[in-house]
Subunit: 268 residues, 2 copies
């Protein structure tokens, strides 16, 4: 079992990722693909006159401020355009993909955190009416049901709150929860950088290998969105995944390169 | 087995439709819900500076001109916002809904019709590069797999071309194909009118009952979007569905009213 997360930043080549997935699925490898959509969401938000607002927590983690209108935009991009176009790419390559959001069958479930602490201009504020949360349960039975019948699940946020509401959750951490719930050996997290960089954005400072007990320290130099990936890696390995690899989704054979250890390999 | 199609026109009350579905699913009724999204698609198209273009065929049927950019907008609204929010409504009501587009598992498959004949200013023209088509095959096994495991499928266009491309298809006719493929007894088609009207929009001219062999004639006075519903009804009954009912999705208990024969009942 292989779980692949492909990010949503600019520069990611989904065709190349889907090329690799098609080869692996044809070899009989069960795969769950999880995808993001942050760049497209920013573009659509701007076009609709609702520019994105990024919240920074007191611990330095960033997240998108998601009121009801933002969640509509988020669902349009993630569950709508991105998911449909990735499923289309896979269908064109002979992979019988099925797209799912975290609401479908309560695939990704967890509590909504309506009040979020954030730092604005150096001061802590409480943001209310945020539709965000954290995945605590994965409906692994639904993924297995589809995999056992020859389908390849393509999963994206939003997730489902305990009360059944659509909530924005972090895709990397959702992928980590899925990998742990399915007992995956590898979790591959692809984005628009070659891996974890000691001095972002200098790609010559790529860290090829991190031990699980060094992850805490890695959080200190991981920039912006990479912080959540490090957190996801830590959660996946705590959940029993053998290896998490941060790979580059801009190059040919992105999945194979990562599977073979190119990028940053994290293991216990 | 009950297949319900709820339209995408302005005025439709999805909360009321979902209230009824929740009651029926709790009683053990297997349901597949198919939904539209035309009104929201028009609104988003206008906002994005890409106003909708409606094509009229030489036979008087209307369809949306769907180039690649329009299909993105279409997928954002149908598979994104509408599908997510309907699944959310059902999850809030305790129904374990799973949203699917026609690409998922090639649920709705058929040939793409890249060249479409249309009448523009009284002249026939050939519109090229249209991503539209017609559903010819339904993956009923996928729907049954989900239903047998306690899930309620919520289905929307786009569909999947034979080559795996996302294509715009008519939702009413897709619902008819699904009802026939599943051997459903009833197909309920809800919209923002009380049923088929002899003189649209005069609601006092509601036709309470039409025999299957009168449907050809009904096509002559069915206005705009109702033409496709009449065509869908005809296809469903030809496919073995006992009864098709056009009901009103603006009133309380919309599904129960239709099931009990309010609206226009079509049977062999």
């Amino acid at each position: 079992m292989l779980v692949i997360k492909v990010g949503g930043s600019a520069g990611i080549n989904y065709d190349l990722v889907c090329d690799d997935i098609a080869l692996l699925v044809k070899e009989g490898q069960p795969i769950v693909l999880v995808h993001g959509g942050s760049h497209e969401t920013n573009v659509l938000s701007e076009k609709l006159g609702k520019p994105p607002r990024i919240l920074t927590s007191p611990q330095g983690f960033t997240s998108r401020y998601t009121d009801a209108e933002t969640l509509d935009i988020f669902a349009m991009v993630y569950a709508g355009k991105m998911n449909t176009r990735i499923v289309e790419r896979l269908q064109k390559r002979g992979v019988n993909a099925v797209g799912l959001s975290g609401l479908d069958g309560r695939l990704l479930e967890g509590p909504r955190k309506a009040n979020v602490r954030a730092v604005v201009d150096g001061r802590q504020v409480l943001v209310r009416d945020d539709f965000t949360g954290k995945v605590e349960r994965v409906n692994a039975a639904l993924l297995r049901l589809l995999l056992d019948h020859g389908y390849t699940p393509v999963v994206s946020p939003p997730a489902c709150s305990t009360a059944g509401e659509a909530i924005n959750v972090d895709g990397d951490r959702a992928a980590a929860m899925i990998a742990a719930a399915l007992g995956a050996k590898q979790l591959i997290i692809l984005s628009n950088v070659p891996g974890l960089l000691r001095n972002f954005p200098d790609e010559r400072t790529l860290i090829p290998r991190i031990a699980y007990d060094e992850l805490e320290q890695a959080l200190s130099f991981a920039e912006g969105r990479m912080k959540k990936k490090v957190l996801g890696a830590s959660e996946a390995i705590a959940g029993g995944v053998s290896q998490v690899i941060f790979g580059d989704a801009r190059i040919p054979r992105p999945v194979f390169h990562a599977m073979n250890g190119a990028g940053t390999v994290i293991e216990r």
